[in-house]
Amino acid sequence: MQRIIEHPVLGPLPEVPMVKIIVDGEQMEAREGEMIAAALIATGKKYFRKTIKTHEPRGIYCGIGRCTDCVMTVNGIPNVRTCITPVEEGMVIETQMGYGVWKQEQ
């Protein structure tokens, strides 16, 4: 876990309920209301997707929903900006290769 427990300005990390998320098939915990990207960084995940042409790893960059560097496939939807999308109980999050693929809706 990589989290700031005692922040010099914001003070101690408040207690919040935890939710369960599934990241690349593995169950993990996240703080309710936090963004997917924050939850993943806290678990130590280094990259969120690989680029289309050269397959280089990418993670968080702008952190405010503009640059789309941090996109992942979330609940089967490709290209979701993880830095501005809050976690939800049971959310399925996958490292995205290139543009990702559409999951067929049945």
């Binding site: 789309t68 490709p78 809706e105």
Partner: protein
């Protein structure tokens, strides 16, 4: 100062540049006068389809075949891929009534040599797994293709310039006269004058206004088409798509089709193509609103709602831009191509409405043949600008 050329082309869109290119190729000294900048008009705000299935069997379909062959040879000639691709196309059918009309239409097109068939629901869904359940069948043609209009225009201009063609931007034509020698004298807003024995009016939606400068009648109405562009997304299905509703209303105007008031007002029809850059272009509207080429919230919203109703996964896709262009529409839906009977040496090549990208190469080539060799195919008679002159006489 007066500059002299063999041919003055008025309009620097895809049609004007194609005319300029093919004329230059035949050894003519050509200047293309564009009122705005590069790709400022409808050619810079349209989709990229080279469609066969939307063409009524007849001259339009015949010319589309020839244009496709030209596109293939242009890829080598202009030394660029031109964004040319051949994904094929499907027309989506919602009900039995549409199916009936489309079956008849497909039969006609097949007799003209178009490779097209009706797919069952299962076969359709195999190619397009993300379609909404309600579609009962579709057509499929492997021939439907596409080209990137910006690349085509840019390369026409580049290759043309290498051979001596001039392209002058920001030069709206304000006057056209015929002087004593029989040459045309064209004046631009900057007070520049150009002289040549031939003028080609390729001004698209503005072709009527240009013809007016020399007292000719070319009935041309601007028809606004709005299109949205998505972010880059994984492919949705194998082919490009559009709706039968649009074709059915075009082919059988009498037939009762369920359209909302908004759909009718906007002339809304579904069209979806994947671009070379992995974005999708989704359209479109067909509206008569004069020369207003703004996009509207109403138009964008209608296109989005329609797109999501066709392909539900699009609800999670961002659109990044909306564009609108003025398609040049003629009263009979056919382009205008040929020399005006009243003013020898004055040609019009305009009025393609939604077929400008498809038909640009063949239009330029045929126009160049007319100008250079003074000959015109008998089959092109029905495209002649003189069809409107005679109408006018009948009316008066």
């Amino acid at each position: 100062m007066v500059q002299s050329y063999d041919v003055l082309v008025i309009g620097g869109g895809i049609i004007g540049l194609s005319c300029g290119y093919y004329l230059t190729k035949q050894g003519k000294r050509v200047v293309v006068l564009e009122s705005g900048g590069f790709a400022d008009g409808a050619s810079g705000a349209c989709d990229d389809m080279i469609l066969f299935q939307s063409k009524k069997p007849g001259i339009n379909l015949e010319l589309a075949f020839e244009s496709l062959e030209l596109y293939k040879s242009l890829v080598g000639e202009l030394e660029d891929s031109l964004g040319f691709a051949n994904y094929g196309g499907m027309v989506l059918i919602e009900n039995e009534r549409e199916l009936e009309v489309m079956e008849e239409f497909v039969m006609q097109q097949r007799s003209y040599g178009l490779d097209v068939e009706i797919l069952t629901k299962a076969a359709m869904r195999k190619k397009q797994p993300f379609l909404h359940e309600r579609f009962i069948a579709s057509t499929y043609s492997p021939m439907d293709s596409q080209a990137y209009p910006f690349a085509v225009m840019h390369k026409f201009a580049r290759k043309g310039r290498q051979m001596g063609m001039q392209v002058v931007h920001k030069s709206p034509v304000v006057g056209i006269q015929k002087d004593g020698t029989g040459d045309f004298l064209v004046t631009t807003a900057q007070n520049m004058q150009y002289r040549a024995p031939h003028v080609v009016n390729a001004a698209g939606a503005w072709a009527g206004k240009v013809a007016d400068l020399i007292g000719l009648n070319v009935p041309m109405e601007p028809r606004r088409g709005q299109i949205i562009i998505t972010e880059k997304i994984p492919a949705i299905g194998e082919t490009n798509l559009w709706s039968a509703k649009y074709l059915v209303t075009k082919l059988k105007p009498g037939i009762q089709i369920d359209s909302t008031e908004e759909e009718k007002r906007l002339g809304l029809a579904f069209a979806l193509t994947r671009t070379e850059g992995d974005s999708y272009l989704i359209g479109s509207t067909r509206e008569f609103v004069g020369y207003d080429k703004r996009t509207t919230m109403e138009g964008i919203r209608a296109i989005i709602n329609q797109a999501v109703s066709f392909i539900p996964v699009l609800k999670d896709v961002n659109f990044i831009r909306a564009i609108a262009g003025l398609r040049p529409a003629t009263p009979d839906g056919k382009m205008v191509l040929g020399e005006h009977a009243g003013v020898s040496g004055f040609f019009t090549a305009a009025g393609h409405e939604g077929d400008g990208i498809s038909l640009a190469p063949i239009t330029g080539k045929l126009l160049a043949d007319m100008v250079c060799e003074g000959r015109s195919d008998a089959r092109l008679e029905e495209l002649s600008p003189n069809r409107f002159a005679s109408n006018a006489k009948e009316v008066s």
